[in-house]
Symmetry: T
Subunit: 155 residues, 12 copies
């Protein structure tokens, strides 16, 4: 990893399909935080630990790939919740491999304890690590995790 | 289901990828009705049974998810032919789960009697029911089916 | 299909095992309509669309095969809910293939959203199409579907 | 379970295919007790613990389903050895689910230690429990087990 | 095998489901000989080689098991075409095991060159051998095969 | 089996991992009897039928194997509930094979009707039989079953 | 099949690997007839039914393919026992497809009742039919079967 | 194939997701040619063999389907590198089937020698042929291959 | 969750097999922090966020189960790295289910990007969430995650 | 790759089993070019692009391995159509790995669009790339591909 | 491998579960040598070739892992018979990986020719090699193998 | 085993495909000993322990089978490294079964730790034991192993 972060860390946070429905969508699984609440928490926590975030959401697999490719020009790392694409989007995994930025995969629910088809992530082998099951707090933990990754890479 | 349809029933009819090629595309499998013929039949039948339809088609998985999410603001039900996405789009299935509208899955051909990979629908567990194999009449039957679903829900 | 229906359409409606328990049997899955209610609805709807039906039910796989074979002498089409046999009765599927009548597979519940073993129908490849998930209304939709099949075959 | 057994417990004992051949059939696997011996033992033990039994045997899957459905009108519980049907008869399993009586699955041999295809029971998920491997004594243990089930349900 | 055939050999020929439709049923697969033609050929050939046959056909799995069990009292061998039951009837296989008569499995078509699900016979492990693919002549070859089996057993 | 029990029958009852949590652990699955209750019932029933029991429990796979090996010096039979080890401990199964004592596998819940991974027992092929699904009464039935096994072996 | 056999029928009989060891090799499975005995029986029976045979044996997959290709210039049909190659030699199957001669697959033992890996023949889909399980008599039955095949083709 | 190319051959070259990253993306796998280099080579080679090409790239599955459908109005053939979509996009395969133009599937790396999930192409059954493993030269070979396909179709 | 943490949060941190070898063991996968370094970091971070930790390590599956059961008497939550047991210890998963404490599964490496057999955790369905891939920082993130879990449970 | 081609490139072209039957063999799949036609085309094209070819064909897996090993002494590259061996000959794949010459795998038909068992090549992981589906032109494209491979290796 | 054996080679010989039962345990599979006989043979042979051995046996998976870890402080190599743990103990395999000592896996019986579940060793990928099937002589061969491994490492 | 070795033991050592390339072939996997070096070591070691060896190598599966069959006339045992044929040659396994000589399977590399397809040997069930992973020393250990096998057979 040839990253040399000077000063602030820049992170691209990418939400996959249906995450814009947060709060409305199956609240017993995904909790009651709305999408706006979640992003506000992300921004607040990022600011508090000196991280600059840009947040995007799309239902379009291609748009998510575009966002990953865009990150290469400005970001130090990627936090991505690939939503339903987690389980089949080899194209998203390839995009992460292509940009060679450290990436953290995030899931609101504990995908490893749900339906069989949700327990396998094709995106995971392209990322540094995964955080799943802590509600919207998974994103906040991911921000902290990115810091650990970048610091470890510097040493 | 907390739906309380007053007067006309509103249904979002969503055609997935390649359905715009109907009539041109493998007519021995999909029949000779064109896409326009099919939509005209859908509109005629809908009108005759007092249903208001809005019809969309897209080759883009993301656009189909957008359409499903849009339906939540005005429609009482969804009729969807996910085309090729039927067999892998967990993201479309998640969108249907997220909007919590009754949905009917439609297929022009009898997918259960075709190639092995077409016999499994990842979308099906998110829908109320499935109609497959009756050519473009599958859509007309789906309109009737929606009425049955809503009525049963009211009782 | 060399069928030339003159005047009324004749349809053999065949209920598989345990459907005689309708109304009593797991009502959260199969609804509260009794077997008699269901048959009355089928007869009423058939009459209203000019279809003559004969209805049989058996728990015996062999009796169901017999009924399919009998249909060849008088019926224009078959509507069949193979019940539990759906998932393993190659013999029933072979019977449908043998008589070469258009057949519609019906299920009260949405089998594609239930236990894994219920998502695969060995009967389906022998039929024209499938209707599943609309409660006992699935049978009524199947009657309409048969009309579409016969009409399409005539054109 | 809404069962309120007053006085004697009534149990329907159902033998599946080929059990009428007991004693003649592969005695190294199924033992030397004949079918009549077995039923006499069942009746004796039932009488000794105050249980009234009715015993049926059939090679016909449909007849077994009929017997299960009949039990609903008079029996408090079912003891069933589904024989070869154990491994594929979803229809028998559905019948047990339909009648909602506590059922005990019995096997003379230890099916879990025989050929791979005998180790999986599709009937089991519909029953309360299973007793396998104790020769014809499996039936006697099942009678005792039924008593435990009914008593636990009463408390 | 403790068989001591004195004089004429007696063989039970058992046809499984849908074989009564021979000649009408998918003639490109099963040929144009009718069921009666086939049985006449079987009787003629049996007579010419000094074999006494009794022929039964049933669509009922249970009736086929009954017929196998009946054979034990008079027949020296069984010839069986289990039809669609070939692929799942463990109960029929168990019946053959139970009666311990030499059995020949017959198929009109070459099941090993058809759909995947037809390539596996659960009945086969219970039989002495299999003849498949020679049209209705498969039965005639099976009669000859039975003679070879009995003679080899005598030596 | 060269066992010649003179007088009292001695049985080693071995509880696997987490069974010491009985009563506290998922009571809807495992019931409300505590571990002490269960052992008291086992001892009472054993005494009433003239069986001497020694009861051990361990969360350690190795300790369970040790207990099985110890049994060889004093016990006539083993009753074992391998708990979670049921599904993968080939080492426990090998231990039972090594000591060559008749063993009965016990489960409180009906493992064949629970999650897919609980439906397969690697221990089963090493035992004489299995009793599952009758709550803590499964152990009492197992004591009776042991008696049947030993008696059958004597005849 | 454009075969016009004039006068005598010519058949290439091809023995695969290890069949030259017949009589020596696992006699409980393959019988006590030696390879020479078997060929003598084949020649005798062929002569008696007016068939000219040429017999080859090879342990070499390539030599078997060569023999199949050679047959195209003189034989009316092929009888082949592919031995161990049965289960993986797509190349032998392709050779049979390439020469387009009717072929009969022969096995001495009932391969469908042996180890799992012996139950699947990759050669079968390229042949007209299969005869298995009748000891060396399987070859004699195959000679008769060839006659049936050619006669049916002529009608 | 009813194609009658007069004069110049027109080919639609479609690059799938992440191919715009060529040169930057895992150069040990995909080489050091940039995306622009690659397209220049394609254009140069096309010109030299009298082929007119139009080149598109998209990360969006839907846009790729749109491009395939657009080709029907002007192109004689399609060259497509579906990138990561190769392994799951039944929708892209269906689009190729729908337009019925000869298509060549191209891969820069030898997908058959990489991770297991890359060895299976769901797009392949819809194409005429595949060229994989020759770096960006795969595209140039595909242009030549298209010429062979069209010429063979003309003869 | 009936947890009512007053003041300090108590967490049982359980290290599975081979984690005592940290620093020595495959440092390219598991990093260069020793076991003692890791525990010191855990204690420091716990203290800084007001969490009291007790740390145990064992190579014994049974000892890990014991530790989980012990936690029920004093801890508010469990952090567990099951090491190699992750992939088969149903007994550890059952222990977590039995104690009903919120648990966080931790992995030093990103198991989802390693060998196939490491990508599936049988422990996961029993936990609230998972953190994997961040070196020994995974434990620190898990401490934070526990706080989020407990706080969410309180609201 | 330590190849230093001076002047002419030398290529060993190896045809696998049944390719000598070209033109006669299933012409709808493999075309009407005979084996001699094909080799003439190969020689002509090779000469036109300055490549020296030696062509061998064998039905013998061992002879193909011999040919691959021979190539090491004189050839710069290998073009191989392994025919039916493609799908199981690990020994041929190992031979290619052993000689460490760049190899191109050729198929006349598009194996990825045929029967399931033809879609997997065990030889592929040992080669540089694959060309499939262009009839006998596949060989000509392979000759060009070899030139690209060698040239890329030189740069 | 940074091993620099000076003088005597030290080897830790670790016996897994149930090996203490040798001689008593299924002697047709494991032979009649007792555990003590076996260890005496090991010690004798070790002495004769100048190897110092320490022998441990445990039924406890954790104790085996402890023994592997202990070896790191004094042994040059490990000889391990993981017994039943062979087939699932990823934790033992990880321990061997962790200590980075050359290890030889030993089996008394030929596990590759026994039940399907015994043919796969999860421990094998962590070892240098395997010796199976030579009775207790497998251990003696392993001692010789260790010498070969160390000597090869020195060159 | 009816072997009565008088004086010298005679062993047929058979090398499978590509082993003649030893030393040249992937030396990181197979080592740097050439084929001649290896055979010299085998002969030296054999002489030193009083074993007479005959060594053959072939790339031809059929020739390997021939060699196995030849051994029956003079050898007391077989040592075989089936190379790539290990994983699919049922015909070689059958040949070993046919000759009924004790056989030892040898591999230079530890096949159980390599690619998935190399971990399964279809030859193994036909052999007495296996030695894998010790470089060319595997052959020397196999010679010693043969002595153990013959001696054990004598006792």
């Amino acid at each position: 990893m040839q990253i040399t972060p000077t000063g602030t860390l820049r992170v691209s946070v990418i939400h996959g399909p249906n995450l814009n429905m947060l709060g409305l969508r199956e609240p017993d699984i995904y909790g009651t935080d709305t999408f706006d609440d979640t992003n506000r928490k992300i921004r607040d926590h990022a600011r508090s630990i000196g991280v600059e975030v840009r947040i995007t959401q799309s239902n379009h697999e291609g748009a998510i790939i575009d966002a990953i490719q865009d990150a290469v020009s400005w970001a130090d790392a990627i936090i991505i919740n690939p939503g339903g694409y987690t389980h089949y989007s080899i194209a998203i995994a390839d995009a992460i491999r292509a940009v060679r930025l450290p990436a953290v995969e995030v899931h609101i629910s504990n995908i490893h304890g749900r339906e069989e088809f949700r327990r396998h992530s094709v995106v995971a082998p392209a990322t540094a690590g995964q955080i799943a099951g802590f509600g919207t707090a998974s994103y906040l933990l991911a921000l902290d995790a990115v810091r650990h990754l970048i610091m470890d890479a510097k040493h």
